[in-house]
């Protein structure tokens, strides 16, 4: 589904990603962990197409298409979804209107008829129930005045509505209390269907108790320096990141 080959990127002349390699197959959950400043958020930004980052090398293919060549909206319409670390508040645009526009733009892109108003509302109601979303949130302006937990749940709700093939979760757990974390994770788990893939970026192992990964990768200095299964995350939780850093330094010196 997603194939990242030797991806290099920088921002304002500063090199952040120094050759990332990663293959995500349908139905897989990959966790990307790492200390602050390792390049975790840069990776998600580059994959989503944020303009501030310059890709200086490597390639990314998504279902056989060159992802880096697409505009952010085309990536989304091809099935990539980024759950933001800091979802933006957009006063004056209601969640309902926003989602209806997004869904119909995607349908247009895929050559499908727009969804009619009643069908859309029914679809939205179903997803709201599935995600245990408060009805009041959808009539309000997008994320405006939402608590941190509400914003993150709204991200997962949007994911449920847009039905992406690949979801990248950028530190979705940051700033969440345990109840919100449970709700967000439960939402994600409900969307797993053996076909959808997830890349879960996180600093802490905590989230991975709820969203159990198939693979765990450690990102450090812009490269994946270690990969393993879910037990690697547990090891990191106990031992921290320092031993990884030491290992990397030793290899470099050897």
């Amino acid at each position: 589904m997603l194939e990242i080959k030797d991806l290099k990127a920088e921002i304002e002349g500063k090199k952040i990603l120094n050759g990332i390699n990663l293959v995500v197959k349908p139905g897989e959950v990959h966790a990307i962990m790492g200390p602050n400043g390792a390049g975790k958020s840069t990776l998600s930004s580059v994959l989503a197409g944020r303009a501030d980052y310059v890709v200086t090398g490597g390639e990314v293919s998504f279902n056989g298409k060159d992802l880096l060549d697409m505009s952010p909206e085309d990536r989304a319409r091809e099935g990539v979804f980024l759950a933001f670390q800091y979802p933006v508040e957009i006063p004056g645009v209601s969640t309902t209107n926003f989602l209806k526009t997004a869904i119909n733009e995607k349908r247009k892109y895929l050559g499908q008829e727009p969804m009619e108003a009643t069908a859309f509302l029914k679809f939205m109601r179903e997803k709201m129930e599935l995600m245990e979303m408060d009805k009041a949130l959808t009539s309000r302006s997008l994320n405006e005045g939402f608590s941190g937990g509400e914003k993150k749940r709204n991200e997962v709700f949007q994911m449920a509505m847009l039905e992406p093939k690949l979801t990248i979760m950028d530190e979705t757990d940051s700033g969440l209390d345990i109840d919100a974390l449970r709700l967000v994770s439960a939402g994600v788990n409900k969307l797993k269907d053996g076909e959808r893939s997830f890349v879960v970026i996180t600093h802490y192992q905590r989230l991975l108790d709820y969203i159990v990964p198939d693979f765990v990768h450690v990102l450090y200095k812009g490269r994946i320096v270690k990969s393993g299964d879910a037990s690697l995350a547990k090891e990191l939780e106990v031992k921290g990141y320092d031993w990884i850093k030491t290992e990397v330094e030793q290899e470099a010196n050897a």
Binding site: S71, L82, I90, N97, E105
Partner: protein, 428 residues
């Protein structure tokens, strides 16, 4: 030259006018105008607004009314409202299109001309008492040569059941036309009224509208005042509104400028009692070489009053906007709360905004903030929408509509808001 037309008009008017207080008032105003002349860009308050393209032209004050006017009225969004209508073409009342549905006979909704006959006491008590003539050339000119306009009198404790639409059309089909409407609104103690003041233009010649509105809000009165400016063609407008507030009054004033070659708005609030609420909201959407200038002044003369001002602009092409907002907190006006914001989005490299938010505070226990922004659409919301599959042009439209609708929604007539939002959408 406009000045010559005006002088001729005044001589003509004087020749047929009745002697009396009203004539004296107008002669004094004319003398003041002659003394001051048209404002020029050397005048601080007119620094950015050059009237030369108006003063270099000749304008006729009267003109035959064409059938286009009926069509325009019937096609307008305002005409869809359940409301009282006073329709003026080139400053004169058109009886056939005007319609009063108010049932309460104590409430007066009429022309200024009728009020001078039928409501002399109230008229004389308030006319010319609020809009200053001294030092204000354009007010002086209007006072000297006013054509007609709306007179609304809401007695103590009464509520006007439906909005009053003051519908102004400039018909420049045959010639350049000059209209000088004059409105007087008197809302007595604990009364309530909603006004929709609206401007259109037809015809291929130039039109110039110089309008003055005086509003008196008695104790605990509530006035909703919506101004909608969409004069097409080559149209110029100078709009002066003075609102005089007694204690405990609520005023919500919304100005939407959606068209016009040159529009200068002067909106003045004077809070003459405690516990007043003054809300001033404005939106201007400009394109081509249009020019919009909003000058506002809020006088907090007494303690414990609240004012909230927010003006927003979206500028396209080579258009220009000016915002100059002054909040004066007088020495006595302790516990004043005053907020002022001006936010502009430039959609073109050739568009210009000149903004000057001003606070003058003479009291020491007040809460005031002001600020202005000029820029492009924020990148973060844009990226967020695009990352959900919404193309850039659609995302931009969504964000611009949201920015503009924030002001349109300050209008409390839902059916009017819905229609206006469609018009704004078309303009963006």
């Amino acid at each position: 030259m406009l000045l010559e037309t005006i002088k001729k008009d005044f001589i003509q008017y004087k020749a047929q006018a009745e002697q009396g207080e009203f004539l004296t008032l107008r002669e004094q105003a004319f003398a003041e105008f002659e003394k001051l002349g048209f404002p020029t860009t050397k005048h601080e308050e007119w620094k950015y607004t050059n009237l030369k393209s108006i003063t270099d032209k000749t304008f006729q004050s009267t003109c035959e009314i064409k059938s286009l006017v009926n069509e325009l009225f019937n096609a307008s969004i305002e005409s869809k409202l359940t409301a009282n209508f006073l329709v003026f073409v080139n400053g004169s009342l058109v009886h056939e299109l005007s319609k009063i549905i108010e049932q309460d006979n104590n409430i007066v909704i009429s022309s200024i001309a009728a009020a001078r006959k039928n409501n002399q006491t109230i008229f004389n008590q308030h006319f010319g008492k609020y809009a200053k003539v001294e030092g204000e050339a354009m007010n002086a000119l209007n006072t000297a040569l006013l054509s007609d306009g709306a007179f609304i009198f809401v007695p103590k404790g009464k509520t006007v059941a439906h909005p009053v639409v003051i519908f102004n059309i400039s018909d420049a089909s045959d010639l350049n036309v000059l209209a000088q409407p004059r409105n007087l609104i008197v809302a007595e103690e604990s009364s309530s009224v909603t006004l929709v003041e609206t401007y259109y233009a037809v015809g291929s010649n130039a039109s110039f509208t110089n309008v003055v509105t005086e509003t008196y809000a008695g104790k605990n009165a509530h006035v909703e005042h919506y101004k909608i400016q969409q004069q097409g063609g080559e149209s110029y407008q100078n709009n002066f509104t003075q609102i005089f507030q007694e204690a405990d009054t609520n005023i919500n004033h919304v100005t939407l400028t959606l068209d016009g070659t040159m529009v200068r708005n002067n909106l003045h609030f004077y809070m003459n009692g405690e516990n007043c609420n003054s809300l001033l909201y404005g939106l201007y959407v400009t394109d081509e070489k249009d020019f919009v200038d909003n000058h506002t002044r809020v006088d907090h003369a007494k303690p414990n009053c609240f004012s909230d001002e927010k003006y927003k602009g979206i500028l396209k092409d080579q258009s220009t906007a000016v915002f100059n907002g002054k909040i004066m907190v007088h020495l006595d006006a302790q516990k004043t709360n005053a907020y002022q914001r001006n936010q502009n989005i430039l959609l073109s490299d050739d568009a210009t905004v000149n903004t000057k938010p001003q606070l003058e505070i003479f009291a020491d226990d007040v809460k005031c903030t002001h600020g202005a922004t000029i820029g492009e659409l924020d990148e973060e919301p844009m990226f967020y929408l695009r990352s959900r599959g919404i193309p850039e042009n659609v995302a931009r439209k969504l964000l611009l509509n949201a920015f503009a609708d924030d002001i349109a929604e300050k209008i409390k007539i839902p059916e009017l808001v819905a229609l206006l939002e469609q018009q704004i959408d078309q303009k963006l």
